[in-house]
Every structure is written in C-alpha cells, then in structure tokens.
C-alpha cells in the first residue's frame, strides 16, 4: 500500500513538487536515510500546498486503514510527511526507528510534530517502541500537538499504559478538546480514571465552575464490545 500511496500523492502534486517527492523518497530508500529525512521532513509543508484536495481525502482514508490517525485529521502536509516516513521507517530496526521519531519530534516545528503523531500507528512492528515519544508529545501544551496524539488517533488506546492513558484523558478534558474525539476511551475506562475525573469535577465545583458537558464519557467501567 506504501507504493500505491506514494504514486497517488505524487500524481496529485504540481510537477515540480511531484519531482521533489519522488526524488526524496528514492533517496530515503537508498541513502543515509535519517540525515536526509530531517531536511525533507522540514520542507514538506510548502511542497504540499499544491496537493489536490481529493487526493488528501483519499490518502487520509488509506492512512486510517493502515493504523494511522483518523481520516478527518490529516492535512496535506501530514500526508506528504507520511509518504516520506513510509519510505524510511520500514527499513529500520525497532530501536533506530524510535530514535528517529524522537529526533523528528525534538527538532521539529509544530506541524512536523503533529504529522509524526498522526503516523505513529502506521508501523505495527515498531509501534510499541514509539510510546516514549507519544508520551513526550502529551507533555506539550500546544493544543494542536496535543490534539494530534490525543484526538482522532487510535494510537494511545492501543499502546499507552493505564497511567499514561489516564493522564492524557484528563488533560484533554482540561483543554476542552472534546472527549468524544479520544479514540477507544470507552473500552480503556478504568476505576483510577473514574477517581481522577471525579476529583477534577469536585475541584471545579469548589471553584464555582461549570463541568464540561462530556465529562461522563471518562467515568465508569470499561465498555465491552
């Protein structure tokens, strides 16, 4: 599916951008991947401006089916960055891939960080090793970066420990992000989360503040499907 995605995206870009993407992907498949990736990943945003909107929707659906973020979450730049990652990551050992993700996160701008988060679940073999960078992303208070991992993304529910997941849900609640967007929340609910969220509700009552309308989504036993 990687080749199919790359071909589809390249054909939906303006000629010079398409040439750039094909060249970049080829270099990433053959050369010293990680070093080349950093500059390509940084510059992908402006190459993606020419991407046809239909192609973004199509690519987003493919990426969702591959385990990435929900189709609604992908921007044109995210899609192009995912194509770059797909050219590199599958060739790498688990530890190397995790190091690469951490590097992309630490030295990325906001948009780069978001794209990385949406793609974390794309590679089953290494997905579990990406937990540290995903948890690091949860420490940000840049709403967009936090939302890229916490919302419309199946990754946390699949890979986070209970403590990691609970902290993320509570922060999503604090930031008013809408718990309906936290994928897998129902089946990951747990007694400790219920306690934490109830304590937060109490804190708000004492301060004379209204409770978020969606707070109940985080309270109660796990849903069974």
């Amino acid at each position: 599916m990687n080749d199919e995605l790359e071909t589809m995206i390249a054909s939906a870009l303006a000629p010079t951008d398409a040439e750039w993407l094909r060249g970049a992907a080829d270099e990433l498949r053959t050369g010293d991947a990680s070093r080349a990736l950093f500059a390509f990943f940084a510059g992908a945003g402006r190459r993606a401006r020419s991407l046809a909107p239909e192609a973004v929707g199509k690519a987003a659906a493919m990426l969702e089916s591959m385990g990435g973020g929900s189709a609604v979450s992908w921007t044109p730049a995210d899609v192009v960055r995912a194509v770059l990652l797909l050219a590199v990551i599958p060739r790498l050992a688990v530890g190397t891939a995790a190091d690469l993700s951490r590097e992309l996160f630490l030295r990325g701008d906001n948009a780069e960080r978001c794209a990385l988060m949406r793609g974390l679940g794309l590679w089953d073999a290494i997905a579990a090793a990406q937990v540290p960078v995903a948890v690091e992303a949860c420490r940000t208070n840049v709403k967009d970066v936090f939302a890229a991992i916490a919302c419309d993304n199946p990754y946390p529910a699949r890979y986070f420990s209970e403590a990691q997941f609970n902290q993320m849900v509570l922060k999503a609640l604090l930031l008013g992000l809408g718990l309906a967007r936290v994928e897998g929340l129902g089946r990951r609910r747990n007694p400790e989360l219920t306690r934490m969220v109830s304590a937060y509700a109490n804190e708000r009552r004492h301060a004379g503040r209204a409770l978020p309308a969606d707070i109940d989504l985080a309270i109660g036993p796990p849903e069974t499907s």
Binding site: F38, A39, F40, A42, G43, G45, R46, R49, R107, D109, N110, A111, R139, T140, N141, V142, K143, D144, L175
Partner: protein
C-alpha cells in the same frame, strides 16, 4: 495601513510590546537570528534558539494577531568562535528548510576578520542552495568600509543583488547599497544608527524604491514601535501615502516573498487570535481572561 517590522528580536521583548505593536498596526515581524548579547558557549544553544524562533516565539506572536517569520544563520560576531562556528554551519541546512524561514541571516561583517568573510561566503552559498534571500548586518565600526566589502563579496559570489537586503544603512552607505541593486534596511534606534527625522530626509531624497525601515529592537536600549513612529514622521513630513506604504509594507513583503515561502494571499489575511492556545506548558496568559477573535 498594515505595517511589517522586518528586523526585530522579539525573543527579548515582552508581551506588552506585542500588544502595543499590534495596536499600532504591526501585523508581521521578521526576527533575524543573532547573538544573545553575550557569546554562546556551545553550538547546542544555537539549536534551541533556532527552534524557539520557529516554535515558541511564533506562537507567542500569534497570540497578539502578529505573524512571525524569521531568518536563520550564523551571526558575524560568533562566526569568530572557531570552536562552534563549523557545528552551527553544519546544522543550518535543516533549519533553513523550516516553514516561515524567509532568509539566511543575520550574516555579514562585524570586526571584518578573514573568518567572518569565510563564513559569510559559505552562508551565501547556503542561501543559493535553499533558494533564500540574505539579510546582511553591517558593522557599527568602520561601517562604510564594511558595506563596501559586503557589496564586493555578494558580487564575487555571483549572488543576485535583488535577493540581498543590506541592513543598518546611514546617509553614507545608502547610495552604495542602492547603486549595487540591493535592498536597503534602516534601523531606527533611539540614539544611534538612524532616526525618524533623518529617515524622512532620506526618503525625500532617494524615494521609496528598495527602501525598508525596522526597529532592530532587542534587549538593548531600543523601541519596538519605531516602525509606526517613523511612518507617522514620514506622513507629518509630507511624504505621499504610497511611498510610506511601500517602505513599511510592500517592500519588505516583496523582499521576503522572494524566498517563495510566503503565500501572498494568505499573507494579506489577518492572523486569528486565540489566546486559549497553550505552548509547552506555558500560556502567555497569567490568570487574565483570554481574548478570542471570532
């Protein structure tokens, strides 16, 4: 009239400055990478600085409806520190590719040493490779000579003068800069460099073509409102509106648009202000009600 301050070190300014600038009509700033007022001890601190220019500072500006762009480069002062200069040059390609990086800069001469000249030349080459214009600092000491050597080096490197902005011009250097085909920046400082009255005289004499003004405000004695103040002085001095608008908006937009990194239509749109956004655990708000523009 929309205003652009094409040279201001916002990292060293307060949120009050951002608020006052926004109120005075500044809708966009360009923050050139420079030194910190004292020498860095290792290359890594350049890297965190570059990241803050494309990250935290950009976000901080957006909270006040101000678009923040930056230039990335090894400044001439620290080009003299051989123990870190090469490491900084080596990290530049990655940062020159980042969104919102619209030139290589500030580069140029400070003490006019051979090492400065070498790093200046190397960064002109990087600008060519990344399709970026250059923002060139001119020295405080021996400025005329520094400007002459700058123009000579740009020429020697075969770099396009139209992609070159030579900054901190004075009455002596401006004719050289314009004759060379470069853009001419003027830093409006409270006491040194250039002031409003002299600037009005320069625009009357040379017109508005390829002329820019900036506050160059930083952690020193400087004024982030110098662009709006100078625009007012030009108006009071009888300079036509079209010329004022060229100097404070169209010229800087045209120069930085030569990077190909500015989406012209998007650029004319105001930045949406939403102070509810947070950054790295810090909000710029400390308890006050966030302003939200709808």
């Amino acid at each position: 009239m929309k205003l652009l301050d094409p040279h201001i070190h916002m990292s060293s300014r307060t949120t009050d400055d951002y608020r006052n600038m926004a109120e005075a009509g500044v809708v966009c700033v360009v923050e050139p990478a420079f030194w910190l007022g004292q020498p860095r001890t290792h290359a890594g601190s350049f890297e965190d600085y570059f990241l803050s220019l494309v990250g935290w500072e950009r976000f901080r500006a957006s909270q006040f409806g101000i678009r923040h762009l930056c230039t990335i480069g090894l400044n001439p002062k620290e080009a003299n520190n051989e123990s870190l200069a090469q490491d900084v040059i080596d990290m530049l390609p990655r940062y020159l590719e980042k969104e919102g990086v619209v030139a290589v800069g500030e580069i140029g001469f400070d003490d006019m040493t051979p090492v400065e000249e070498r790093r200046f030349g190397e960064q002109i080459e990087l600008a060519r490779r990344h399709g970026l214009p250059i923002l060139v600092h001119t020295p405080h000491r021996d400025k005329l000579r520094g400007t002459e050597r700058t123009i000579a080096l740009v020429r020697e490197c075969g770099f396009t003068p139209e992609l070159t902005l030579i900054d901190h011009n004075t009455e002596e250097t401006l004719p050289l800069t314009l004759d060379a085909g470069c853009w001419a920046g003027h830093s409006m400082y409270p006491e040194t460099k250039m002031d409003e009255t002299r600037m009005v005289a320069l625009v009357k004499r040379y017109g508005s073509e390829r002329i820019l003004i900036n506050s160059a405000a930083d952690w020193g004695f400087s004024d982030p409102l110098k662009v709006p103040k100078t625009a007012r002085a030009m108006r009071d001095g009888g300079i036509p509106e079209a010329d004022i608008e060229a100097v404070v908006w169209h010229n800087p937009v045209a120069f930085f648009a030569s990077s190909g990194r500015i989406d012209a239509s998007e650029f004319e749109e105001p930045v949406r202000v939403d102070q509810r956004e947070l950054w790295e655990g810090n909000s710029v708000l400390r308890g006050q009600e966030p302003a939200v523009e709808r």
